[in-house]
Structure formats: C-alpha cells, structure tokens
Subunit: 208 residues, 2 copies
C-alpha cells in the first residue's frame, strides 16, 4: 500500500549519500547494488534516481566532496602554522598531525578515495587527481623549503612526499578509536617518524 507521502528530498538526498558512502567503504563500489543503498535509506531502488543520475555520479560526488573538504581544511590550518613560527619544521609537524587527525575523522571517505578511483570515468578521475595533486603539493612545498634551508635531507622531494603520505595513510588500516593508543599519541608518534625521516643529520657519527 501507499507508504509515506511526505516530501523528503531535502533530507533524503544526504541520506542517500551517507548510505552510499557507508556501503561503498564496507564492500566496495562494484559490490554494492543500488537496491542495497535504497534498502539502507529505506526507499525503493527507483527513488534513488531522484537524487543521482546514476551510480557512477553518486561515487564521484562523494569523492569530490571529500577532497574539497580536505583541501579547505588544510587551507584553514595554515594560519596555525604561521602562529608557530611558520618554518618548515613546524609546517611538517602540522601537516602530519593534520593528516592523521582529519583522515581518522573520516575513515570511510578516505578509504573510498584511495580504493575506488579506478571506478571513475576518465573525466571524473582527472578532476580528482588534480585535487589530490594540489594537496600533495602542499606537503612538497614544505619539503622543498626545508631542503633549501638545509633543515631537511631529502634527495627527491616528490618521492619523499609520496612516501610520507603513504606512511600517514597507513594509520587507517589499523587504527581503532577504542584501541590501546589515544589519537594524540598516534599523532605524535607519526609526526615524530615523519620529522626524523627527513631531518638533516646533525654532525655526528654516521652508521657504517
């Protein structure tokens, strides 16, 4: 029989995206059906097409929204770095802590951002790649400046940028909020490893 008649487009739209995000993160884009998403929302499959032209667009909207949030959140972080002196060391520490904190607060969006890129159309993929590159460039600039000042010993800033981000992303694969380590502790350990891995050697014995 006829179920609810109410107009819910303003609330159902976000719920559709939330359900898709949750299910894509849990099972993968290709493994999740529109019917599953609809069931999670509590509507029929056909109703989803009021909120997205197709499944592919639903995915790319989630990814673009996420990367947009990453970029603007990092922009918002920059004044805080200046307040700490603004040098490359402060910047690198801030980047590591920001990355850990922000990503752990949005594990599902981060997860699909790294897993489901290949399910995007070439156009959508290119747009996401450009945003990701912009974020990476923020870190690389810090490395470049630190290297120029002799603070960092980095032979290849591009490679090092990617290596550091990979290390930081790894936290997603194991971190559990109820685990033995607090978020602050995890942040500090990672920030310390990042810092040490690029720091120029103080004059002292090298290992053989």
């Amino acid at each position: 029989m006829a179920r609810k008649q109410g107009s819910h487009s303003d609330i159902t739209g976000p719920r559709v995206r939330a359900a898709a995000l949750k299910l894509f993160a849990a099972h993968g884009f290709a493994a999740v059906s529109m019917r599953q998403i609809a069931a999670e929302v509590g509507v029929q499959a056909g109703a989803l097409y009021l909120y997205t032209p197709d499944k592919q667009t639903l995915l790319s909207d989630l990814l673009e929204t996420h990367m947009g949030e990453v970029l603007s959140a990092w922009q918002a972080e920059l004044p805080r770095i200046e307040a700490r002196g603004g040098g490359p060391e402060a910047g690198l520490d801030a980047f590591a802590r920001f990355h850990i904190r922000f990503h752990l607060a949005r594990p599902q969006a981060v997860f699909i951002s790294y897993m489901e890129l290949r399910n995007l159309t070439p156009e959508n993929f290119a747009k996401l790649e450009a945003m990701r590159k912009q974020y990476e460039d923020g870190l690389e600039q810090i490395l470049i400046e630190g290297k120029a000042r002799g603070l960092f010993d980095v032979s290849d800033t591009k490679l090092t940028t990617l290596a550091l981000i990979s290390m930081l992303n790894g936290v997603l694969t194991w971190y559990k909020p109820e685990g033995r380590l607090s978020l602050d502790r995890v942040e500090s350990i990672y920030a310390d490893m990042v810092s040490k891995s690029v720091r120029a050697q103080e004059r002292s014995a090298q290992i053989a």
Copy 2:
C-alpha cells in the same frame, strides 16, 4: 584410452590464474566477471570451473600463493643479512630493500593482496591475516632488537612496524619501470628514510 584433441589442463590452469590476477588487479574482484576471465583466456565461462570450484576460491588461491612466496623469499634473504653483520641496522636496511624489490616485481599480486582481503570468506581471510602477521613480525623483531641495543628510538614497535610497511607499500602506487628513477635509486631512498625514521638521536640539538 581415447586421446583428446584439446588436452590443455596443465597449461590452461595457470593461464586462468594469470588472467584472473591481471583482471582483479585492474578492475577489482567484484567488478570482474567469470565471463571476462574466460574471454581473456580464450575459453567459455563454464570451462573455468574445471580449474576452480568458484570465483572466491580463485581469489583466495592467488592471495595465498602470493603470501607464501613473500614469506619464503624473505626467509631466503636472511642469510644475506647475516653476511652483512646481522645487526638490526643491516636487517632493517635489508628488509626495506627486499620489500621494495619483491613488491615491485609482483605489483598485481601485491595490489590485490591489500585491496581484496574483504572479499575473502572469514576462513580464508584468517589464513591470509596469519601469514601477513608473520611477515610483519619479521620486521618488528628487527625493531625490537635495535631498540634493546639502543640503536633505534622507537616508542611503539608495533605501530612503527605498520607505519614502515605502509610507507614501503606506497611505492606501488606511483612507480613505473620506465620512470625517471631506477629501481636501485628508489630502493636506496626508501631504505634511507626507513633507517632515519627509527634511528636513535645522536647527542645534538633537538628541534624546538
């Protein structure tokens, strides 16, 4: 004993696994159909079931074979570490270089080993996790020994193990054999970052 004209089980079996590996890595387990795998091999879909009971087993066989190769290859590497003195510093360097080299030689298998774990049945997943843990323990033992000797400054060996492996795995996302950096160079840069990120501070100025 009637001779058959197309007896190829000894060659078709490996080709089925090779095709599945290639397609799973390229598009994801859930996105690849048995029909696609069959087309890649050049047989009909039904013929695949001569070589695997089902799609899920095809995946878990690929992953278990790969992890078995990782473990035995690392075992084979241990004598080489002894030859270099056998200390934690030599061990850590050897691990980083081994991991980079071995993984870059099998990018597809490594890729699905990290991406498709969630598509395994709980039993198959548990088996794979145990093998992965065994590999990680090899690295953690090096860190534990280095920490005990005062060579490494590592506050949490488990977390550091995961962070280092994440960093090393990252090479897969960007390395191209025809790129601007040689494999040796990449190996060296990563091994250097790994080494520095855990090395105990020589006495000298700390950053503020």
